[in-house]
């Protein structure tokens, strides 16, 4: 119990799609009875192709969506039951980094306000205190603190992603859900962001739930991997075991499909 942060049991999320008034609504099983654990300090990756349910799982963990069935407990507490202050505490412990560095930052807000929002809403800190903390966070993610008064559109994709990371760090969270955080970036920028994520994990003792379709990235950063396929978990293993000995046919197919640079020297 001690080192398990998230315990997900028989989690289901179904969506109804209306096809017209004369037809039965179609039920899409985005997540269909999955169970897994996230342990403290690890990087757990959810991998799979588009529509496999990995992003839906992220939304459920963050309480952006409510499950159709099943439970998610965070440090022993059922998160579906959280309200008010408890919910607010939960929010500050579990944060997210989004995929799209463009739509994830409010274009009308300055960087300082974007990074400071979690603090404004969830703490009693005064404006100068918040500003100080935001500048500190900016430095931590490798941005010049004097960019405090700039707008998101003045930054490149990689820098924007750093802003998103600083925002996620603001409340000193325990877990960060990274929803395809590097897949919209150029490879060279990808490496910078991955390096940063690894640094921060060490420094702040973070746990990552890392969502990606890129197995090379996943292999590099993860401790354990959960492979999803059409809403279900087909295989969950430590990374070495998975790469060395993929059991499920889909995992094998996926592994053989990933383009990997043929060994150099």
């Amino acid at each position: 119990m001690s080192d398990v942060v998230f315990k997900v049991q028989h989690l289901k999320k179904y969506y109804e799609i209306n096809l017209g008034m004369f037809k039965q609504p179609k039920i899409v099983k985005a997540v269909d009875d999955i169970s897994f654990e996230v342990r403290k300090g690890e990087v757990l990756s959810l991998v799979g192709e588009s529509g496999c349910g990995k992003s839906t799982t992220a939304k459920l963990l963050l309480k952006i969506e409510e499950p159709t069935d099943g439970t998610i407990t965070f440090e022993g507490q059922d998160i579906t039951q959280l309200h008010g202050d408890e919910l607010s505490t939960y929010r500050s412990k579990v944060q997210i980094i989004f995929q799209d560095p463009y739509s994830s930052l409010n274009p009308r807000w300055k960087v300082g306000r974007i990074i400071g929002e979690p603090l404004t809403l969830n703490t009693d800190m005064t404006a100068p205190q918040i500003e100080e903390r935001v500048r500190y966070l900016m430095e931590k993610v490798g941005m010049a603190p004097d960019w405090y008064d700039r707008y998101p559109h003045q930054f490149s994709g990689g820098q924007r992603q750093r802003i998103g990371i600083a925002r996620a760090l603001a409340l000193n969270p325990e877990v960060i859900v990274c929803d395809e955080p590097v897949s919209a970036l150029d490879v060279s920028i990808q490496a910078q962001v991955l390096n940063l994520l690894l640094d921060l994990q060490e420094e702040f003792d973070l746990t990552y739930v890392f969502i990606s379709h890129d197995l090379s990235v996943v292999e590099h950063i993860s401790d354990r991997i959960v492979v999803m396929y059409y809403g279900e978990i087909v295989e969950a293993k430590p990374v070495d075991a998975l790469f060395a000995n993929p059991e499920h046919p889909y995992t094998r197919k996926l592994l053989s499909a990933i383009p990997m640079i043929k060994s150099v020297s």
């Binding site: 150029d186 990808q190 990235v217 640079i261």
Partner: protein, 288 residues
Amino acid sequence: MSNLVEIRNLQTYFYSDAGVNHAVDGVSFEIPQGKTVCIVGESGSGKSITALSIMGLIDPPGRIVGGEILFEGTDLLRLSDAQLRKVRGRDISMIFQEPMTSLNPSYTVGYQIDEALRLHQKHLNKKERFEKVVEALDLVGIPDPREKYREYPFKLSGGQRQRVMIAIAMACEPKMLIADEPTTALDVTIQAQVLDLMKELQEKKGTSLLFITHDLAVVSQIADEVVVMYRGHIVEKASAEELFNDPRHPYTRALLHSIPRPGVTPRKSQLDTVDDTVDYLAFPKEIR
């Protein structure tokens, strides 16, 4: 080994109020007969503009301001519009990144393949063309090609659409196919299938392939020759083997090492990065 295409000192600039963007600035390389050349680079490197320049598809405010594109010895830049149109689709064809938007939603799949034949193989009659379209669909691995002829693009999956695009491009058996990030928008398993298909077709038909991508892993799987572009310039040009075993230009090296490689890159180690503060163009170009 003869070269199908030779590009010499190509310059394509874009003009705007803010100034001139030297998108492609003095690029030279060759595409040998029946081989695959990959242009690799990050966004803004000018790789797609190079491809579009070869096709003659640069629109204002962009303009090809200098250089030569020799296709079997003829400079494409000196051809009239009408002459160039005969080359496009017949001798050189092209497929694009977005399979969801690169087919016209208003016409059937068959119509769109048939159109290429109508334009370039005027000796065929309707029935012969139909058979050829069905054959083309079959060739790219679309099941039930006769039924699929009448299908509209919105009914097909992304992978199938990209197959149809390939069928359009290959319909007239061109001497060269240009593929601009053809697999980037696809899921990995589909991506692998489409790559296999392209390789297979290339071998079968002896087509030269110019493959544009940002993904070095894909390059390593498909390329014979590699051209690395950075900010409108070629920084390194080598055979795939040479490039991956012995990258010489600092930019190429940084790019290669920024990608984690399972089994090679130590897990959770810091990756090499392309340094924003370094001007990689200042290094001597490694063109072998």
